[in-house]
Symmetry: C2
Subunit: 223 residues, 2 copies
DNA sequence: ATTTGTATAATTGTATACAATTATTAGTTT
DNA sequence: AAACTAATAATTGTATACAATTATACAAAT
């Protein structure tokens, strides 16, 4: 009786494709052709199509009425909704963390914030964003709310795509630092209401930043 | 230039399979074999596998470490999380409806509630559940919050599976009637805070009912 | 010049053959 | 009888051939 956990070609293809989309290597609205991609990634169309379908389900790829594929665009409306949903779900996660977080969790979270501060001082926007997401992911992980986590993971992948785009053109939410500090403090104090509110405020503040940056980028492009 | 909107074999297969799972025709934990299903549904393995993968992504089908498939079980933990998430997201939807609902929307919602009451008096649990979900779906539709709607649709399909199971063994939430009345009234009054709270309370009340019924069923089975 | 029709090419959708992996059975040893 | 092994069957994973559909190019007609 053998137990299998080999990595299927489908999964590798999925990861590679998603990364290219998040990193804007495949740009919004760009058309996608199966045969080209299959050759590029060195797999046949079968596992590629399975990867594509998963990305379709997650709204990273869009199938047009004529059956052709393109990379999803990012609309302000979508971004607003995604951050709005995240604020509610992650607020609940933070409340949960305030109830259950251990001393060790606090130490780990503090480390992540320290790394963030460091990246910020170096002006390393990409790592600033990366460590910020690690902070949020850690809270999801220790929550043991697996359904919350699953829903959030998809939304956060979209958020990441968006943040990467914004942070390529300038600073990301410079208040994120202090906001994370406040969240962590509330969790350490086991203040459930405070943790929930701090997290909601933080995510809605990030939304405001995102919308603001996008307007700036659009104006720059028009000028 | 021809425009295509034909129904693909993959989509039909997906719908048929999901329905069988929601209706418990394919029972929780039941193993699923590709070749059998393909023959049963009259399609080849290729479109079937695409349908299966979509249902995997939505957690209706589970792929075990050895690659074999089974129908997802339903755990109390999952149900709790799903209703908890719904309470927040649909609360926001209800708030939105209180802001934007038209006279015509109020009329349509009233009709749905009337149908529910009627089904309840006839003791028709299945239709009672069906019309209840229509009420919720209608609010999502008019919200124009497409990302909210997409997330909710998946959660509601799981909820429906669960409610159908419960309502086969007895009455569903008998307070749902009055709770819907209250929600509708708040929306008609354009009371945003009231609508959000009424919806959250309603969904959490349904959760309490669900958990209660499940315990009853389990006890009956053990006796 | 614009439109229309037709032939051709390109792309996606489906079926199927085959490869890789896992489960089962039977036989052997202890 | 229990445990291990080898051979076989069953199942899933991948590649590929072909069918169906859609896009493109080009000629003919208005």
């Amino acid at each position: 009786m053998a137990i299998r956990s080999r990595r299927l070609s489908k999964d590798n293809t999925y990861d590679a494709l998603k990364q290219k989309i998040i990193d804007s290597e495949l740009e919004p609205n760009q058309p996608v052709h199966e045969e080209n991609l299959a050759a590029l990634l060195g797999v046949s169309r079968t596992p590629l199509r399975e990867a594509i379908q998963k990305l379709e389900n997650e709204d990273f790829l869009i199938r047009q009425p004529n059956g052709r594929l393109r990379v999803a665009s990012v609309t302000l409306k979508e971004v607003e909704e995604i951050f709005q949903i995240r604020s509610m779900l992650e607020g609940y996660i933070a409340r949960n963390a305030a109830k259950h977080a251990t001393e060790n969790d606090i130490v780990n979270l503090t480390t992540m914030i320290t790394k963030m501060k460091h990246s910020f001082q170096l002006g390393d926007n990409q790592n600033f964003v990366t460590y910020g997401f690690e902070f949020h992911d850690y809270l999801s992980e220790i929550s043991e709310l697996r359904t919350f986590e699953k829903v959030l993971n998809q939304l956060k992948d979209h958020s990441l795509r968006y943040c990467r785009f914004v942070s390529m053109h300038g600073d990301w939410n410079t208040q994120a630092d202090e906001e994370h500090d406040l969240i962590l403090q509330m969790i350490a104090d086991h203040n459930e209401d405070g943790a929930e509110k701090a997290m909601r405020d933080h995510i809605l503040s990030s939304l405001a930043t995102a919308l603001d940056r996008i307007k700036g980028i659009e104006e720059k492009l028009e000028a």
